[in-house]
């Protein structure tokens, strides 16, 4: 178990950037990535990163492109840099940040650039669903016609059954995400929804309806990191530190989970992160969790200790997750309304946490945000990466 206090230097964020999330017909994967990279680097233009980590989920399947690390680094003008691609489905972004964290903590690197990028709209529905199915167990799930949406649907039905929750128990997660996206200029869906719309929404994979599932879209996000002793003298934003970084893995298949209603990787990585940062769940001012499906929001809140098992849904029903609530989540709209960008999501979440902690979140600002947590999941949780940041 890593303990940050054993190391002399804090890891700090020098720059963040992201593209709007949506259908970018006019932009290729490299152009999307460059837009985010340029935005992040513009916040500390004199810092040349020493390593480059590219997070992505589907480029080999949907863009016929591998070696994104080299491709994107070269396109961004960083020829010669140590570069690599990192793939762990929806957790890719968190894992890429983890690699940058490890590299700088080790003392071997002084700075690193993390970029997450996903380009999905060049292909149509069934092909994208087949690509997404590769993040399930190919031999025992995908062959049965199962996709991550089906896995989440199986979890959601059992959850509602086991805890005797109403059919619309999870609606609050979707409503909250949409409400928060209204004032986010980078969000895909900048409009609020009402419970009536949720209830009338068509089923995707019952009981998951259209508003329980996040839309997969194009987007990129980037983060420039360095050591606390290497911050440029003229850096003029509040300095955000990464005070915890943790990753956990487990079986891909839902049927292989000891308890399908516990995301054990989310629990393990959150616990490890709390220990590293020496904080408790009640110290967290906002939590960017991975709401690819509403059921994952409920289970992530339970896994991270914000609710007892079976009671995560009540935090949506009673408003605790709102921006003014006890534990604000998806403060810029989350995957549901900002838009889900696969391997980029984990980077996007941290960009949003940084903006909150810097006090630069505009209308989306959580008041007095000092400690923020980001957690992304690969599939329904075979991989989880949790980071805690503080200002």
């Amino acid at each position: 178990m890593t303990n940050n206090k054993n190391f002399s230097h804090d890891i700090v964020i020098l720059g963040v950037g992201m593209t709007p999330v949506g259908e970018h017909w006019d932009l290729s994967i490299r152009e999307l990535a460059l837009e985010a990279i340029a935005a992040a680097r513009s916040e500390a233009p004199d810092v040349l990163p020493e390593a480059f980590y590219a997070a992505n989920m589907l480029a080999p399947a949907l863009s016929g492109q591998s070696q994104l690390g080299a491709l994107l680094a070269d396109f961004a003008g960083l020829r010669g840099i140590e570069a690599m691609s990192i793939e762990s489905a929806g957790a890719s972004g968190g894992l890429a940040l983890r690699q940058a964290f490890l590299g700088i903590k080790s003392g071997l690197l002084k700075s690193a650039l993390v970029v997450g990028v996903e380009k999905v709209t060049d292909r149509v529905g069934p092909q994208v669903d087949a690509a997404l199915a590769t993040m399930t167990d190919a031999d025992y799930e995908a062959v049965q016609g199962i996709t991550p949406t089906t896995q989440a649907a199986l979890m959601m039905r059992r959850y509602l059954h086991e805890y005797d929750a109403p059919d619309d128990a999870l609606a609050g997660f979707s409503i909250n995400a949409h409400a928060n996206a209204v004032s986010n200029p980078l969000a895909m869906f900048k409009r609020a929804i009402k419970i009536e719309q949720y209830k009338k929404s068509p089923m995707v994979s019952d009981p998951i309806n259209m508003f329980d599932a996040a839309p997969l879209a194009d987007g990129a996000a980037a983060i420039l990191l360095t050591r606390s002793d290497s911050v440029p003298a003229d850096f003029n934003k509040p300095l955000v530190k990464i005070i915890a970084s943790a990753v956990s893995s487990n079986a891909l298949a839902l049927h292989d989970q000891p308890d399908p209603l516990v995301i054990s990787t989310a629990e393990a990585s959150a616990k490890s992160a709390y220990r590293q940062a020496d904080v408790q769940p009640e110290d967290i001012d906002l939590f960017e969790l991975h709401d690819q499906f509403t059921i994952l929001s409920a289970l992530s809140l339970e896994a991270a200790g914000f609710a007892q098992k079976g009671e995560g849904w009540k935090l949506a029903a009673d408003g605790a997750i709102h921006r003014e609530g006890r534990i604000p989540i998806c403060t810029f709209g989350g995957s549901k309304a900002r838009g889900e960008t696969g391997g980029s999501t984990g980077v996007t979440q941290v960009v949003e946490v940084v903006r909150q902690l810097q006090g630069l979140a505009g209308e989306n600002q959580v008041k007095n945000a000092k400690i923020g947590m980001a957690q992304c999941l690969g599939g329904i949780g075979a991989t989880a990466a949790t980071h805690i940041l503080a200002v």
Binding site: L132, D139, Y140, V143, A153, L154, R158, S205, I208, L254
Partner: protein, 133 residues
């Protein structure tokens, strides 16, 4: 998927052959060679009965490529009588109302086809038990 990928799973797909741990006797499906409970080697083959009950289910309307011609289809998590859980499509439902806890049994059915000249992939599905005891 290619022919060899399916062929080497024939015992699992057609016979629901898993493993039993020689150390702690836990039954394992799908086979994984290392016991998930005690962490020791578990390579002793074990034939499952094919009986279980529905733990959860969902009907897929938006199918991935390769499964479109079967949509809509119903997928379930099934708790096998011997303990492990398995993911499989449900079949032969007729107009029976589906519910959690429903007893089901394994049958062999076509899982997917890959065009007129392509491979037909067979394997296990589960159906409601015809004559529950």
């Amino acid at each position: 998927m290619e022919i060899s990928q399916h062929w080497r799973l024939k015992q699992q797909r057609y016979g629901l052959v898993g493993e039993v741990c020689p150390h702690c006797e836990v039954k394992i499906f799908p086979p994984r060679d290392i016991c998930p409970d005690c962490g020791k080697d578990a390579k002793t083959l074990y034939q499952f009965s094919g009986h279980g009950e529905v733990y959860s289910y969902s009907t897929v309307h938006q199918a991935p490529a390769g499964h479109e011609e079967n949509a809509p289809y119903t997928v379930a998590l099934i708790r096998l009588d011997e303990g492990p859980m398995v993911s499989a499509q449900l079949t032969d439902l007729g107009d029976r109302a589906l519910e959690i806890g429903m007893p089901v049994e394994m049958v062999t059915r076509k899982l997917r086809s890959e065009g007129e000249r392509g491979m037909l992939v067979y394997g296990y599905k589960f159906r409601p038990v015809l004559n529950p005891a």
